[in-house]
Every structure is written in C-alpha cells, then in structure tokens.
C-alpha cells in the first residue's frame, strides 16, 4: 500500500521459471517487461518503435540487422551491458537444444556477432520482417557472464536484468518482491515511481478479491467479467478498468485426423462448419466476456499486422449445424472428448451449445502444460484454447504459430503453410498482407478452427493506485503511480 510504498499485486499462476525464456505464461511477460529490457521498445499506445538497449538499427541485408547499443547501462548485479551480452543471449536462446520454451519467439534468429563493444549484428534464418517486433517483445538481453554461470534455473531463482525493477526476493510458489532500479537508464519505458512491488501467487480469483477487500492487495487483474461488474457496482474503494487484450479464444479441431478417434468426424469439413455454426458467439461475448471483447472470425487478433477480418464467417444457426452434421453422416451427432485449460465456464457454455446440436462432449479441464503435451502428441480431437501472441502485434505471432506443421498444428494443411511461409518471410508489407489474407481465408473456408472471441482484461485496484492499462495485456509496473 501507499504507506510503505509497496504495491501488492496478485498473480493467478505460479511461474514455472522466472527466466522469461523458460516460461510461456502471461505473468512471465509481465515479469519480463519489468526486470529485463529488449533491444527495441514499441510504444503500446502509438505502436511506434523506439530504441531501448539499442539506440538505432538498420537492415544490412535481408537477413542481417545491425544494432548500435546504448552505453553506460548496468545490470542489476553491477555488470556493464555490452555487445557481449547481446551476442551471448542471442546465441544461447537461438539454439534449439537449449530448450527455450516458446521457440517461435527466438527460432527466427540464426546467430549474433559482435562488431565492436557497442555494435552487434543479428542474422535471421529466413527473411523475417517481424524481427523488429520480436526484438521489442519477448527477446530480452541477459548478462552474459552471470547467465553462463547460473543458467536458466539460477536465473529463475535470482533474476538479473537491466530493467526498471530488480528482483530482490523469490519465494517459489509464494511471492516475488521487486524493487525500483535506482540506476535505470534513460529508457522509453520510463522510470519507476513505486518503490516496491510485492507479487503474490493467489490462484483463486475469489481469494484475490477477498485479499483486495481486506486491504492486503492493491491491484488485481484478469478479473472475470462477473466479479468485475460487481466490484465496480458495489464499492467506491476500487477502480475497475477494462481493456481489450490480444488474447483470442478459439476451438481447435483435429482436421488432420491425428487423434485416434475412429471415425474421426473432424476430418470432415461439414462437421467443422457445423461446429462453427453451432455456437452463439455473440451471446458468449455479451453475457460472459463482456467489456471490450469482440467476436472474432479469423485465426488472429484484429490489430495484428496482416490480420484481415473479411473472411468467411459462420453465423449462429443450430439448425444449419444439425443439417450439416446430418449431411456429413452424423444425423444423431457424435460424442467427442473436449478439452480446455482455462475459463471452465466458457468451455462449459460452448460445450452446452455443442450438445444442443448433437455433439456430445466429454469435458476435460487440464492444466495448460498438460493439455499442451497432449496436443503436441496429437491426441486432442477438440479443444477450447486461447492464444495471446506474446503481445506481438503481428499476425505471424498467431497464425504462423499454429498452421505451419508444428506439433500443435491440427490442420497440417500444405497450402496454408505455403502461403504463410511466403507471408512470414517477405519484407514487402503488401505481399505479406496478401498472403496472410489468403491463408486466413483458407483457414476460415476450411473451418480448421472455430475462432470465438477476443478477451478483455479487467483491472481492479484500490483508489490509491493510478494506472492506465494497455491493450496488450501487459501489466507495466513502471507506469503505475500512487494517487
């Protein structure tokens, strides 16, 4: 609270590792933005790229980016930031065998080399226009010597970065304490004002609310719509803010027939279309998600570069869904396992719509990592999933993540992959838009997914806290102040 200049925040999820390359959760992104810096910074409001650890950058050729680094920056442990740190970090994370959790974030980089103490070159594997966006997002720079010494698990227990906040305490499973970095360089992120941030892991929103009531929390986020609504209605002690996020909810279906289901109805286009028609997305958005959520019909978030909206869309029409099922040879429907990892009530509501057209669902709620494992093994016929694109404002962060024959690709469609490859590797914006559009069109026509809605996040804070959330679902402690 304000009195002792410590902001108490709750995380729902316990990070598997604070090292931002070794977790894949939203909380990890929040930590990452506070503790570490990227080379580049994108202003979340204007979407303008600014220098952070780098001061300027130029493409030397299609695949080589040269960056000038900022001088006089120090890591939290006192080490100086130099080109060596960039080279070491890039070369470490780019290597697949080092096991960075979300390969997509780093595997576009081939390597980095030092030109001089404050100049580096990063080589990409393919032509990769989204490089700037990724460098301003998930790629943070680590202190070379320290990281070489302690590795990811050491970094997880005692993180060291250059960011506006330094980590002073990690009690796994319980809380992290961040403290203002007094020596923070002149970054576009700005200087922190609140001295301490105490982040506690409280998995249950309800408990978070209770703690907020009792005054031991100052700010919570990702508060479900119902509770947020009640909070804003009932108490003048709290501010409730709603902001859209890049997170998109969708139904994935086993179009490629990877799961052992026999017969596998999802290999049939008609069935997938029926699923798309069966669900009343508007009702879901209006009654469950509320806020700034929108119905989505493409496999990406509308603000992302290349994410067109005018693709085939499927209106809510249960009769048509039934008819399609009948045409596909399932007049009485069929039954299928139906997985989800979060938002049980959305999943339940969706499964209820599916049941209504005859698709009997055997609902299974797993933890994310467990579902992902199953998914990678191709054992999930149908699931309700979400993707937040790591706040990368480029369609490649989502559609290319899932439709390029990776282990999470349920469509395994060659045509889509081909177009996405072109779009991903072109430097020409027009070409990229064209091919993303083609790919997204095809995904919609083939109804590989049933895109549902975009998420929103509710931020509930005490009146003591002043904060304006951004649309990319990242909590920025640096931007928080006391009232």
């Amino acid at each position: 609270d304000k009195a002792n200049d410590t902001l108490s925040v709750a995380f729902t999820k316990e990070l598997e590792n604070v090292d931002s390359f070794f977790n894949s959760s939203r909380e990890g992104v929040v930590m990452q933005r506070a503790v570490w810096d990227g080379l580049i910074y994108r202003d979340p409001v204007t979407n303008e790229y600014k220098g952070n650890l780098a001061t300027s950058w130029t493409w030397i050729d299609d695949k080589t980016l040269e960056l000038k680094l900022r001088e006089g920056v120090k890591f939290h442990n006192g080490a100086d930031f130099t080109a060596d740190d960039v080279v070491a970090t890039v070369n470490f994370v780019a290597k697949e065998e080092n096991g960075v959790k979300t390969q997509r974030n780093v595997n576009w980089m081939e390597s980095a080399e030092k030109v001089d103490d404050f100049t580096v070159r990063i080589t990409t594997k393919e032509v990769f226009p989204a490089a700037i966006e990724f460098l301003s997002g998930p790629v943070s720079i680590y202190p070379a010597d320290y990281y070489a010494e302690v590795g990811p698990s050491g970094m997880g227990l005692k993180p060291v970065g250059t960011g506006p906040y330094k980590v002073v305490e990690v009690v796994p499973g319980q809380h992290f304490v961040l403290e203002k970095n007094e020596n923070y360089h002149d970054s576009p992120k700005g200087q922190a004002t609140i001295n301490k941030i105490d982040i506690r892991t409280i998995p249950d929103v309800n408990t978070q609310l209770a703690e907020l009531f009792s005054g031991s929390l100052d700010l919570i986020w990702q508060v479900p719509a119902d509770q947020a609504e009640k909070m804003s209605a009932m108490d003048d002690r709290f501010t409730v803010l709603n902001e859209s996020t890049m997170r998109v909810g969708y139904l994935a279906m086993d179009a490629a027939g990877r799961s052992g289901m026999d017969p596998n109805p999802f290999t049939d286009l008609k069935v997938r279309q029926a699923v798309n028609h069966a669900i009343d997305r508007d009702a879901l958005v209006d009654n469950l998600l509320k806020g700034k959520s929108k119905v989505i019909s493409t496999a990406c978030f509308p603000s992302q570069f290349g994410c067109v909206q005018d693709v085939t869309s499927y209106e809510y029409d249960p009769e048509k869904a039934k008819a399609l099922l009948a045409e596909a040879g399932y007049p009485d429907g069929f039954s299928t396992p139906f997985y989800a990892y979060r938002d049980r009530e959305y999943g339940e509501a969706i499964s209820s719509y599916l049941n209504a057209v005859g698709i009997q669902t055997d609902f299974k709620l797993l933890q994310y990592s467990a579902l992902r494992e199953l998914n990678m093994k191709g054992e999930v016929p149908m699931s309700f999933q979400t993707w937040g694109s790591y706040s990368v404002n480029d369609a490649s962060a989502m559609v290319s993540q899932f439709f390029k024959h990776g282990s999470l690709d349920d469509a395994q469609d060659d045509q889509t992959k081909e177009w996405l490859d072109i779009a991903d590797s072109s430097t020409d914006d027009a070409t990229r838009v064209e091919y993303y559009t083609k790919a997204l069109q095809r995904i919609a026509d083939q109804a590989y997914w049933a895109p549902m809605f975009s998420y929103n996040t509710n931020y509930v804070m005490t009146k003591e806290v002043e904060y304006t959330p951004t649309a990319d679902e990242v909590l920025r402690f640096t931007n928080m102040t006391w009232n």
Binding site: D226, K230, N355
Partner: protein, 300 residues
C-alpha cells in the same frame, strides 16, 4: 416320551420380545436414526424421480438469465433456487446432483465393501498368514494419502463418473477390512461357530450362515459411513476440478463453480454446500443410529 418332565410352561415363560421386535422398538425410539433414514429416503426418491421433479432440464443453459437469485432472495418461482453462472436452473441441477452423489456413494461403498469384507472376513476367520497379509495390506493402504492418490489417478485416467467411482471403490476398503476383521475375530471365538464346525458344517457354510449374519450389522454401519465418506470425497475431488466433469451436476462441482461469485452471490455456494452437508449428515446419523440399535443389548 419325555425323559425329564417338561418345565412347567406357566413358570418358565419365554421372556421378552424377539430380536426383531427389539430392533423395531429401538429403531422407533431413535430420533437420529429416524431423521437420517427419512432424509436419505427422501433424497433417494428425489434422485429416482429427478426427471419428474425438476422444473427444468439441468443442462439447458440460458446465457441471458445468469445467476438469477433464488425466490427467497427476490427471485421468481420460474427458478425457485435461481440459476447458475450459465443460466441453468439451480434446483434442477441440485436434484440431478442427488443422483450423482447417491450413485457415487452407493457404488463406491459397494465395491469397497466387497473388497474389504472379503479381506477382513478371510483375515479374521483364517488368521495366521492370511491375517498377516491382510493386515499388511491395510497398513499399506492407510499409508497412502487418499485424496492425493485419487486425484492423481483421476488426472491420469480422466475425470468421468466411472473413474471416480472406481477409484473411490478401490481406495475406501480399509475400514471395511479393519472392522470386518475385528468382528469376525470376535464372532469366530463364539462357541456356536465351534458347534457348527463340530456338526460338520463346511467352511463356506460356517462363514455364510454362522458368521456373516452376526457381523452384517457392523457391515451395514460401515457401508453407510463409507458411503458418506465417498460422497464427501467426490465432492472434494470435483471441487478441486479433478472429479466428475462439467456439465455433470455434482454438488461439489456446483460449490466450486459458485465459488467464483462467492463474495457477491453467496447462495451459489451455500445451497449446494448445505444440501451436501445434510445428505452426509443424514447418512452418518443413519450409520450411527444403526450402530446403536444393532449393538448387543446393554444394561441401560
């Protein structure tokens, strides 16, 4: 022909009531038992007649009518106990939930009862090595944390009604084994068992017709108590998200789903919790009562 004169029938009256009469008298005098029995019977009837009694389909959602308050909190008779977070009728879900709880309780108790009784009776009757093995198994079983193991197994096999029932059935036999073993040991020492053996009765016959009838009262008591135990465990598993899965209307699941709105709509948690509490309470009272009324006569 009579070797010895018959005892004067007037002088030596047959005393007292038959065991059945005693039982009836004790049952009717035991309020706890009557209450428990009544509630359980009522809920069984409700569960059986669920389709007739419930005002709505428990699975039909209506997203525009979410969390309607129950009638005593200002709601309407359309949904006497309100609706849940997906607009499903709460009363209907409670009624169908009785099916889930009772089914799980009964079948799990049945499975564990068969396992535990077989083990316990064998241990008590044959003693020696059989007893040593059974006692060891009971120790092993008790050493395994039930909730944890059940959660793990459900996580591995997936949470369906069958899996939950099976897991609980395979985990809750310990008390049956312990009690049946002790009762059998006790009854086995009675002289009527030796008498039956001396008559030439076979071992199965001795067990079935001499021993079982005398320990069946203990068995019934444990069945009820374990049934309550299984119901509570299922609710806990469902509450933790690893029991039966939505949209199955399990009471534990309802508490868990209502929990999110607990601070604002406490009735969402209170109603299924209270129903669960009453059912388990009633079953326990029934069990305690049965223990009391079937206990061998004491002086008072």
């Amino acid at each position: 022909m009579s070797v010895h004169p018959t005892i004067d029938p007037l002088l030596e009256e047959i005393q007292g009531p038959t065991p059945r009469q005693i039982l009836r008298k004790r049952v009717t005098g035991h309020t706890g038992l009557l209450f428990g029995l009544g509630v359980v019977l009522l809920l069984v009837i409700v569960a059986i007649l669920a389709p007739l009694l419930s005002p709505h389909d428990p699975y039909i959602q209506d997203l525009t009518n979410r969390m309607v308050k129950p009638v005593f909190m200002g709601g309407t008779w359309e949904h006497p106990l309100g609706t849940d977070h997906l607009g499903r009728d709460y009363l209907s879900r409670l009624i169908y939930g009785a099916r889930v709880s009772l089914l799980i309780g009964a079948v799990a108790a049945l499975i564990s009862g068969v396992i535990g009784t077989a083990m316990g009776v064998a241990a008590g009757y044959f003693g020696g090595k059989v007893d040593a093995v059974v006692t060891f198994l009971i120790n092993v079983r008790l050493a395994m944390p039930v909730v944890l193991v059940a959660l793990a197994v459900v996580a591995i096999l997936g949470g369906s009604l069958q899996v939950v029932i099976g897991v609980l059935g395979l985990l809750l036999w310990d008390r049956f084994a312990v009690v049946m073993r002790a009762s059998t040991l006790q009854v086995r020492r009675r002289e009527y068992v030796a008498a039956a053996q001396a008559i030439g009765a076979s071992t199965p016959r001795v067990i079935l017709s001499e021993i079982m009838p005398n320990i069946v009262n203990n068995l019934i008591v444990i069945v009820t108590l374990e049934m309550a135990h299984a119901i509570l465990l299922e609710a806990a598993l469902s509450f933790l998200g690893l029991g039966v899965q939505p949209p199955t209307p399990s009471w534990g699941l309802m508490v868990s789903e209502g929990k999110n709105m607990m601070l604002f709509e406490p009735w969402l948690v209170l109603i299924p919790g209270i129903v669960l509490f009453i059912l388990v309470l009633a079953i326990n009272l029934m069990g305690d009562g049965l223990r009391d009324v079937t206990a061998p006569e004491n002086r008072s």
